[in-house]
């Protein structure tokens, strides 16, 4: 198992290197100039030249690239052009906020999505099944931005049950987490229902029923665990994307996370912060994928056996 884990991690290295190269090239291809974001409205040409020199912006691109990779290998992600703060510190400052939002959003997604999916599959074609599936379709189709604003308006402004936006205690976490989690919930509901229906048609379910097991036991003990492989895949990839920040949700709710950090950096052409956040996001994705792989083995003994070569 550990060997497998390490192998997967090693495989991630070319992926991360690819991410670094692509981000680096893209940053220099897109128009714009970081110095313009730094100098304000009144400045002299000498100031611009001095800053360019200081930030090594006029060095040949390959040299800049090698310097960057060299620094990253030493754990140095550089300093923000705009604030002068170390990029690593900025990411470390934001990550707990992003993590908190991601976990809560995923909690809502799993709770709502799996419950709705299982309930839906109990009586396929029933009124409840159709109702849930219509809601799920709406959940998948509704843009995050719209859902967020509606929640702010209805729950925050009209009903005043929760503060519309902001950052702090748990009361501030619910609306953004719901906004972020609802789409995954909708997707999970549909996926769980479809997989459950497929599983329920298998012979072993008939056997379980013919043994005289109560229906809830058939569902929860025999059918549900067999739906977990696709469900875990979705949860894993969605969680990976949550961990790399949710720009829209964070902007609507004034949530200080990684997504806004990245967006601001892109707007201002703050190259070190762009590089750092994109690399961080890539690492999160890779880690989540490895974790999902490992979980496959936990929920399905057959996969465990294949890996150990038996």
């Amino acid at each position: 198992m550990i060997q497998y884990f390490l192998k997967r991690l090693l495989q991630a290295i070319p992926v991360l290197l690819g991410v670094i190269i692509i981000t680096f090239v893209l940053m220099y291809i897109i128009p714009g100039d970081p110095v313009v974001s730094m100098v304000g409205e009144r400045y002299s040409e000498e100031t611009v030249q001095r800053l360019r020199q200081e930030l090594h912006l006029d060095d040949p691109l390959p040299l800049q690239f090698l310097r960057y990779v060299g620094n990253v290998l030493q754990g140095n992600f550089g300093n923000s052009f705009i604030t002068g703060e170390p990029v690593a510190a900025l990411i470390i400052e934001k990550f707990p906020n992003t993590m908190m939002l991601a976990i809560t959003a995923m909690f809502f997604a799993i709770l709502i999505g799996l419950t709705a999916g299982i309930m839906s599959s109990v009586h396929p074609g029933s009124f409840m099944d159709r109702g849930i599936m219509v809601l799920a379709l709406a959940g998948i189709s509704a843009p995050v931005f719209w859902v967020g604003l509606i929640l702010v308006l209805v729950v925050g402004v009209m009903l005043q049950w929760l503060p519309p936006t902001g950052f702090g205690g748990i009361e501030y976490l619910i609306l953004p987490a719901l906004t972020l989690g609802l789409r995954s919930a909708a997707y999970l509901a549909r996926l769980t229902r479809a997989t459950m229906l497929e599983v329920l048609s298998h012979d072993y379910i008939r056997t379980a029923r013919s043994k005289g097991l109560p229906e809830w036991k058939v569902f929860i003990k025999h059918a549900f665990p067999n739906t977990l492989i696709p469900v875990i895949t979705i949860i894993g990839t969605d969680f990976g994307s949550y961990l790399s920040g949710a720009v829209l949700t964070e902007s609507i709710f004034g949530w200080p996370g990684i997504g806004r950090l990245a967006l601001e950096a892109i707007m201002k052409r703050d190259f070190p912060v762009i590089q750092g956040t994109v690399l961080f996001m890539a690492i999160m994705f890779v880690l989540m994928n490895v974790l999902v792989d490992l979980l496959y083995g936990v929920v399905d003994p057959r996969i465990r056996l294949e890996r150990s070569g038996k």
Binding site: G32, D33, G40, E41, Y43, G84, P163, P164, G254, R269
Partner: protein, 485 residues
């Protein structure tokens, strides 16, 4: 008390306070030698008085001895000279050196030829003499700018995250992209702020700000352009501030087709600005009759370019453009004024000028303008300090315009601007500002649009809010908050 900003600040280092929001925050936590009061007058701050000698070159500042930094240490005259040296120090690389580089010997210090600035002289413990290379009237106003704030010499290391000033507000916490929390500085040398706390929340979405105001979580709301109509139905206290600004369209005067005066004038004549102000801007702007806002002029400038499409068509004909002119206008995506651009576009189309709108993000836009790429661009200018000179030199003086803006150059106007800079504030200077304003209107390097107003709403429990048109004069000193009913 709680207010909102649309984006976070850069930090607390005055040397890098190049944007409006950072500048506003710097003015809360730091003091300068002088500052602007709510009525735009220069007022004493750390300097309790000052004088200029008759050559206009030598300033003497008498310094208060009761100013303390937030860490309790006394502000001394050494802190002042160190702060000024720091801005000019090439190792700091501050983009704001322009504020102080006219001090005698500053250039030598900046290039490493001298180890200190010759023109900064400590006369005694309580007076500082500043000698300039030559008479330069705006200098005293420069000293009220954020980058000229006085820094505690003990706190220089951590300025990007922790302020080291003596201002009326102390920083309590800063959650980047979340909020800034300040408490009143009880030991302030002047009357401290009335309210205990000032919370500035970072809310990038317009609708989010409105929602927070509606639920009472924000005490003051700067009404976004698009929501003026919406808020009229409510009964909030409303304050309208005529800002010192100008919205304009820059025309590249250095190459065809806009090197032709007749075309530039036709561009001005062909647009119905009054209609746009009335319908699209909900009346929240005043027609501009030139670059300098009326508050900074001693006399009323007549409106030179009234809406006159037939005059525009005639000028285009004289210039030989007929119906065939095609060009592009650059605009920054975040300006929220796209509908205004479309209205202008249709007015120009009506006289035979086809203008394509090119939208990009702010950074790409500014880079393009700097490089002189656009034929036309849509932009604004907000005052650094309340002086007509601030709407002339940075925008129209040849070397400034040729390098950074719309490539306009006129030696006569240059000469007047330089004369204005050398004169103390008197009737002659006022006359020259009006003259320069008029000459620029005649030369039409821009399409002059309007001076915008800002509308603030306050909750009924907020008293004493008096916004100033100068960005760093708003220090929230006299605001009191009663308990909400």
């Amino acid at each position: 008390m709680t207010i909102a900003y649309a984006a976070d600040i850069r930090g607390f280092d005055p040397a890098f306070a190049t944007d409006l929001r950072t500048g506003k925050i710097i003015s809360l936590v730091y003091d300068n030698l002088v500052r602007f009061d709510a009525d735009m007058n220069l007022a004493p701050a750390i300097a309790h008085n000052w004088s200029v000698n008759n050559t206009g070159r030598i300033y003497t500042f008498n310094i208060r001895n009761n100013v303390r930094f937030h860490d309790g240490t006394s502000l001394t005259i050494n802190d002042i000279t160190k702060s000024f040296h720091r801005i000019l120090d090439p190792k700091i690389s501050s983009p704001q050196t322009w504020l102080l580089e006219r001090i005698a010997g500053a250039k030598d210090f900046m290039t490493g030829k001298a180890d200190h600035v010759r023109g900064l002289q400590i006369a005694n413990d309580s007076s500082l003499v500043v000698e300039l290379d030559e008479a330069f009237a705006p200098f005293i106003q420069y000293l009220a700018m954020p980058a000229a704030a006085i820094i505690n010499s003990n706190g220089i290391e951590s300025l990007s995250t922790v302020p080291a000033g003596s201002g009326p507000w102390r920083l309590e916490t800063w959650a980047r992209d979340g909020e800034l929390l300040f408490s009143r500085n009880k030991d302030y040398w002047d009357t401290p702020p009335i309210t205990d706390n000032l919370r500035i929340r970072i809310l990038s979405e317009v609708m989010t700000q409105s929602a927070e105001f509606e639920t009472g979580s924000l005490d003051i709301l700067e009404v976004p352009q698009g929501e003026i109509e919406y808020w009229r139905q409510y009964n909030y206290d409303q304050l309208e501030v005529e800002e010192l600004n100008i919205w304009y369209i820059g025309m590249n005067c250095s190459r065809p087709p806009f090197d032709d005066l007749r075309l530039r004038q036709a561009m001005n004549y062909s647009i119905d600005r009054e209609k746009i102000i009335h319908i699209l801007l909900n009346g929240s702007a005043a027609l501009a009759s030139g670059p300098v806002p009326p508050q900074l002029l001693s006399e009323v400038t007549e409106l030179r370019y009234e809406y006159n499409p037939s005059r525009a068509i005639q000028l285009l004909k004289e210039a030989g453009f007929g119906n065939s002119l095609q060009t592009e206008i650059y605009v920054a995506g975040g300006s929220g004024m796209f509908h205004v651009l479309e209205a202008l576009q249709s007015d120009w189309a009506a006289v035979g000028i086809t203008v394509e709108i090119k939208r990009s993000d702010w950074n790409v836009f500014k880079t393009a303008v700097r490089e002189g790429k656009p034929d036309l661009y849509y932009l604004d200018w907000f005052a650094d300090y309340p002086d007509g000179e601030n709407f002339l030199y940075p925008l129209f003086y040849s070397t400034e315009s040729m390098k950074n803006r719309n490539r306009f150059s006129d030696p006569d106007i240059d000469a007047i601007i330089i004369e204005i800079q050398g004169l103390p504030n008197n009737a002659k200077r006022q006359r020259l500002i009006a003259d320069a304003n008029k000459l620029i209107v005649d030369a039409a390097p821009w399409v002059f649009l309007w001076h915008s107003k800002t509308i603030y709403l306050t909750q009924q429990w907020i008293k004493g809010f008096q916004p100033s048109p100068i960005f760093n004069a708003n220090r929230y000193m006299n605001i009191s908050k009663m308990a909400p009913e």
